[in-house]
């Protein structure tokens, strides 16, 4: 990794960590403001457009559910794990993107479909595990592209700043 790519990687890692931390904010607010639910209700509502937030399908902390369900939590933390792993492990280098996407989504899709048909009942553990697998996979697929994109933007901005500095002096 070049210096700019390294900076781009750190920036992306920071964003993913921030997103994962934000998921804990609503339950912490709910715990702090107990028994009232005014602020926590609004903070949960911010995430309601991206997840069903069913209590029975969510992990909880301090007796309050996280901002998103177990599967989504698995995906986001899996993505975080995938981003952390990226400098050390590169998987599926010689496979096409389509194959990689299929491999990443297959366990999660199987879990959902078998549960819908009634052959197996998904539990919090299966939701978390299959979500995490998808998260790690999608981070592995998208991260090189994201690093390339952020590197482009960073070089573009530094180039612009350099041009501005030159025109001033």
């Amino acid at each position: 990794m070049s210096k700019v790519e390294h900076r781009a990687y750190i920036l992306i890692l920071g964003c993913v960590i921030l997103w994962c931390v934000v998921l804990f904010v609503p339950p912490i607010i709910a715990y702090v403001e107990e028994p009232s639910q005014e602020i926590s209700h609004f903070s949960y509502r911010c995430f309601s457009s991206i997840c069903h937030q069913f209590e029975t399908r969510s992990l909880s902390i301090f007796g309050h559910k996280l901002a998103v369900c177990a599967r989504c939590t698995g995906i986001y933390f899996g993505a975080l794990f995938g981003v952390i792993l990226y400098p050390f492990v590169r998987f599926g280098k010689h496979w096409s993107l389509r194959t990689l996407w299929i491999i990443a989504v297959l366990p999660m899709l199987t879990d959902v479909l078998l549960n819908t048909v009634g052959i197996h009942t998904s539990s919090i553990a299966t939701r978390l595990a299959t979500g995490a697998f998808f998260g790690i996979g999608s981070a592995g697929i998208l991260l090189p592209i994201a690093i390339e994109a952020v590197t482009n933007l960073l070089s573009h901005f530094s180039h612009q700043q350099g041009a501005q500095y030159e025109s001033k002096t």
Partner: protein, 175 residues
């Protein structure tokens, strides 16, 4: 070489798709799949953006696709908030009613207080504060996931690197 095409119109198309998926009742369940509807909007924005390219224009970069996806997210959040207000005014909170009905039907193991809070929040009316919260959270979430959709779009429609064959070596004059 020609200049690169405009990003606004493809982003607007992507935003409209995003807004439609997010605000039409029951179709917006798609967003429960890790914001798939929003990502689809970002993906389509990149699809429309790449359609405007001709062989004469320089190829699109991942940074541009990320930007188009994020811009689609901004449009999607604004249009989606307006559309959801319209659907709420026209049909009422049918999604909320349906969810409560589902919870009752399947007798999910939810504490009574939590169920009451859920029922209260789902049947609550529209206020200026709730609209602003929806708009602000949509702006953040849609931009973020639209950006991811843009990156997925780039990974699918990545321009193939053209291999430029070197010009043929001049043949030495035959004696």
């Amino acid at each position: 070489m020609n200049q690169k095409p405009d990003k606004l119109i493809p982003a607007l198309y992507g935003g409209v798709i995003m807004a439609l998926i997010s605000s039409i009742p029951f179709i917006n369940f798609l967003n429960c799949l890790c914001c798939a509807g929003v990502m689809l909007g970002g993906f389509f924005a990149v699809f429309f953006y790449k359609n405007n390219f001709t062989p004469d224009t320089p190829p699109y970069t991942s940074g541009e696709c990320m930007g188009v996806g994020a811009l689609a997210g901004v449009f999607g959040a604004i249009i989606g908030t307006m559309l959801s207000l319209v659907t709420l005014a026209l049909f009422g909170n049918i999604m909320g009613d349906y969810m409560i009905e589902m919870i009752r039907k399947f007798e999910l193991d939810i504490p009574m207080e939590a169920f009451d809070a859920m029922e209260e929040s789902m049947t609550a009316g529209i206020s200026f504060v709730s609209i602003m919260i929806q708009l602000l959270s949509s702006l953040v979430i849609d931009t973020l996931f639209g950006l991811l959709g843009g990156l997925i779009g780039y990974s699918v429609y990545k321009p193939k690197k053209s291999i430029i064959s070197p010009p043929p070596m001049p043949q030495p004059p035959q004696v």
